[in-house]
């Protein structure tokens, strides 16, 4: 019947454990007293101390074997300058927890939480609760009237269900995590918030790749950065965030940019290059526009994800890199798979957790909080606080939420709009005049986009809806118009919304309007219905 050795991890208490002269033996010193109990044999004490208290640590570490020769005391200096700085204390204790070699199957661990600042006590609790410290907690108390200076102790096992209520308080931390992912923006879109909830859950509990889909400017990069920050704050990654847009990795350089090369691998390879995957070791690799990656690179990447190893260009030795992959795409990868431009196995690997970020025009209720966020960001970056006065705010919101605001560049457009208005604001106030000219600027840029879109996509779009002979029966003059109508329908949620957009100029002059009916009749001329156009799309 061999019992497991008992190991206590504890912080040296600069106040409670203090005592230099002979009178220290007349004081209750929790760290020393814990080793003095008749019914608790501490085989090893891992005593953590701040560099400032080295002398005290030495005293305590020689006093313990005196009263408990069975206890082996090991000192660990932890770099905590300010014991009340939450991040620093948590970081230092977490580093210790990560580097300490726990062998729970062979040793029992107790974490002593009576000594140290309240901050360090909370941090030790959190680290134990989250099982970074596979231990039970031990609390000590001074003697009341009994003889000697031993006092009492109690052991708390957080795994017991009676502490569930306590654990549920830490759900709050999760709520903070969600707000974190949204960059602190109080988003109102239910669908978006539900998606963020899910991402938070996946990001903090899994290391599997994440796929972020959505149009350009929908905030994929920002979200990837925040996921990284969240994981870092939860100590789930230690390394860096490496971001790269795969569209910039074309041709020969792509392979060595990603996977590195050895000296002499090809002409011009004068030195070793470690590559982006290795730079992301222990961290997060965000590959935006992953659909643009070449097929060779895709194959190599798949192996790097699955095996966590890969071969740098020109090397015959594999290297290791453990990174969490976040992939971004604005294209439908499935269609690229069908076209043979994207590997099906890679898609299957990265598609486990895929999230579609809605376009800004699908999250119009989130425009207002994002305006506030952008103003805040502007203030942080420039040091100038700028406000939208009430009228200006209303005018801009009325426009921004209207179906006429296309937001084709999504958040990129919104950020640019706010930056422009804030820059032009004199005296830190954005006026109605500034808003009006910004609205005009946005409309004109979207019109150019739309013209460009219409030009390229006319034939494609009509081919999806009508057969060859039907198209041949339409005058080229009318084809362009129909294509534009189809494009607008597809951007709209309802027939009425599309109608309002298509007849937006004339509707202001008419007394009674039924744009939906007008559009319906127009479509019927080509044997089309709004529902079928929209359905064809997905």
């Amino acid at each position: 019947m061999k019992r497991k050795p008992l190991v206590v991890l504890g912080l040296l208490g600069p106040m409670l454990d203090n005592g230099r002269g002979a009178e220290r033996w007349e004081r209750w010193r929790p760290t020393v007293a814990l080793c003095q109990h008749e019914e608790l044999l501490v085989d090893r004490f891992e005593l953590l101390y701040q560099p400032r208290f080295t002398t005290l640590a030495k005293i305590v570490s020689t006093d313990i074997p005196r009263i408990s020769p069975e206890t082996d005391v090991r000192l660990h200096e932890v770099a905590i300058d300010d014991a009340w700085d939450f991040a620093a204390v948590y970081g230092a204790l977490h580093d210790f927890a990560r580097s300490y070699r726990f062998i729970p199957e062979r040793e029992d661990y107790l974490v002593h939480i009576t000594t140290g600042s309240h901050v360090s006590q909370i941090c030790l609790f959190l680290l134990t609760e989250s099982r970074y410290l596979p231990a039970r907690l031990v609390q000590t108390a001074p003697p009341s009237r009994e003889r000697g200076m031993t006092g009492s102790f109690s052991i708390i096992d957080l795994d017991l269900s009676k502490y569930d209520a306590l654990a549920s308080r830490f759900q709050q931390q999760k709520v903070e995590g969600k707000s974190f992912l949204k960059g602190g923006i109080q988003t109102r879109s239910k669908a978006f918030n539900a998606m963020i909830d899910q991402i938070e859950q996946v990001a903090t509990s899994s290391r599997s790749p994440l796929l972020l889909m959505g149009p350009t400017g929908a905030g994929k990069s920002q979200l990837a950065r925040r996921i990284y920050e969240l994981k870092k704050s939860r100590r789930q990654v230690e390394g860096k965030l490496v971001e790269v847009n795969c569209a910039t990795l074309r041709g020969d350089g792509a392979m060595s940019a990603l996977f590195g090369h050895v000296r002499g691998a090809f002409t011009g390879a004068n030195t070793d290059r470690s590559g982006l995957l290795r730079a992301a070791d222990g961290g997060v690799l965000f590959l935006d526009e992953i659909g643009e990656l070449g097929l060779d690179e895709q194959a190599m990447l798949l192996r790097a994800i699955e095996e966590r190893r890969f071969l740098p260009h020109g090397s015959d030795r594999e290297v290791k890199s453990e990174f969490q992959l976040i992939a971004g795409t604005n294209a439908k990868l499935q269609s690229r798979v069908r076209e043979g431009r994207f590997r099906e196995d890679l898609l299957a690997r990265i598609n486990l957790w895929s999230f579609t970020l809605p376009a800004l025009c699908d999250r119009r209720e989130d425009i207002e909080p994002n305006i506030d966020y952008e103003l805040e960001r502007y203030a942080l970056e420039t040091g100038d606080r700028v406000v939208l006065n009430k009228e200006a705010r209303e005018a801009f919101l009325r426009f921004a939420r209207s179906p006429g605001a296309l937001w084709t560049g999504n958040f990129r457009d919104l950020t640019a709009a706010i930056t422009r208005m804030a820059t032009l604001a004199s005296g830190g106030r954005i006026s109605v005049g500034i808003v009006s000219s910004e609205i005009a600027r946005l409309e004109s840029s979207w019109k150019q986009d739309a013209d460009l879109d219409a030009g390229v996509s006319t034939v494609d779009q009509l081919h999806e809806l009508l057969d060859e002979s039907a198209i041949a029966g339409i005058d080229p003059f009318d084809r362009v118009q129909l294509a534009e109508v189809v494009r607008v329908c597809r951007k709209s949620r309802t027939l009425s919304e599309a109608g309002r957009l298509l007849f937006s100029a004339s509707r202001l002059e008419r007394r009674s309007v039924n744009d939906a009916d007008r559009l319906k009749k127009y479509l019927a001329r080509f044997g089309l219905r709004f529902e079928s156009i929209v359905r064809q799309q997905s």
């Binding site: 033996w25 006093d63 005196r66 020769p69 009237r145």
Partner: protein, 339 residues
């Protein structure tokens, strides 16, 4: 196998230490159940484990249940091996109690033994080293073995840090002895020992001694020890008689005033002085075992305690002896002889 009910008498560590000593001596394994049954923290505590560990080391015993909280211990001794040993004992244990568990077996081992003990030498829950040196060891020496104790440093509770070396030259055979009278007192001393505490405490204790007992100025002393060890205080009353010596001790403790410390030693001394038995209750307790090893003997004591009775029962389980206790007010007589 000898099976002992650990809950008999006052229970606790005394039964265990006697059983360990007897088991090593008689080479009989034993099993003790219900260790500290009914206590808030039942089973073996660290102070017991230190004794088990020391005994096991000296006779290479096999054990079962040698862990904190275990309410059953099985101890299977092998040959007692003389030689050099060192044991460090924490403040929870006591060096003198550990010594009591291992010393009897060394008295008849087939070679000299030197044991270094580190830890507390003056622990309020155990006989102090001065008691062992002055009262206990001389009586054991009378049975034939040579024992010396060299105290390097005193160690007070709880800081410990004391150290002493015990050297034992065994006798081939222990001879029975009689201690029926203490004889006239030819020397006495009262010493207040002070370490890292105000000297005034010792002076007040001595004043109390003067008030309640008869001592000459030359027999009184306040002894200050170097303050580098923990704080400590005790009052010791030593009486050297023709046939034996007695030591009575009061321990200073936080929250207990100097007069009360002195009184606890003085009360014991006065009780002994008032009686006619040779030894006081603590020494009586300790003498039982070596006398049993010698195969017989008699002594008188001023008081028979529950501890002594329990001890007698444990001894009778290991050795074919009759232990008769004749309790009287002034002097109770204890006779041990072979069945």
């Amino acid at each position: 196998m000898i099976t002992i009910d650990g809950s008999m008498g006052e229970g606790g560590g005394q039964i265990l230490r006697s059983a360990l000593a007897l088991s090593m001596l008689t080479q009989q394994p034993f099993r003790i159940d219900n260790i500290r049954a009914g206590r808030t923290t039942p089973g073996l505590m660290r102070q017991h484990l230190t004794a088990v560990y020391a005994a096991r080391t000296i006779c290479h015993a096999d054990t079962e249940g040698e862990s904190i909280g275990s309410t059953t211990l099985v101890f299977k001794p092998k040959k007692v091996t003389p030689g050099k040993y060192a044991f460090a004992i924490g403040s929870a244990g006591s060096t003198t109690l550990v010594l009591q568990a291992i010393l009897p077996a060394l008295l008849t081992a087939d070679g000299d033994t030197e044991v270094t003990l580190e830890g507390g030498t003056h622990n309020p829950f155990a006989p102090p080293i001065d008691f062992l040196r002055r009262a206990y060891i001389p009586q054991i020496a009378r049975m034939g073995s040579t024992i010396s104790i060299d105290l390097d440093r005193a160690g007070f509770f709880p800081s410990g840090g004391g150290r002493f070396v015990v050297r034992v030259t065994p006798a081939k055979r222990l001879s029975p002895f009689q201690l029926l009278e203490r004889g006239p007192i030819h020397a006495k001393r009262a010493v207040a020992v002070i370490s890292a505490l105000p000297r005034d405490i010792g002076e007040r204790e001595i004043k109390r001694v003067i008030k309640r007992l008869t001592f000459e100025a030359s027999e009184l002393e306040v002894l200050s020890l170097p303050a580098d060890q923990g704080p400590g205080n005790l009052l010791m009353l030593q009486y050297d008689c023709q046939h034996c010596s007695e030591v009575f001790v009061g321990f200073g403790m936080k929250g207990v005033n100097a007069e009360a410390v002195a009184d606890s030693a003085i009360d014991h001394a006065r009780h002994w002085l008032a009686g006619s038995g040779a030894v006081g209750p603590f020494l009586a307790d300790q003498l039982l075992l070596p006398m049993a090893l010698a195969g017989g003997g008699s002594f008188t004591t001023t008081q028979v305690t529950e501890h002594t009775r329990t001890n007698a029962k444990v001894i009778a389980m290991f050795l074919p002896l009759n232990i008769r206790i004749d309790e009287q007010a002034q002097a109770s007589r204890i006779d041990i002889d072979m069945q």
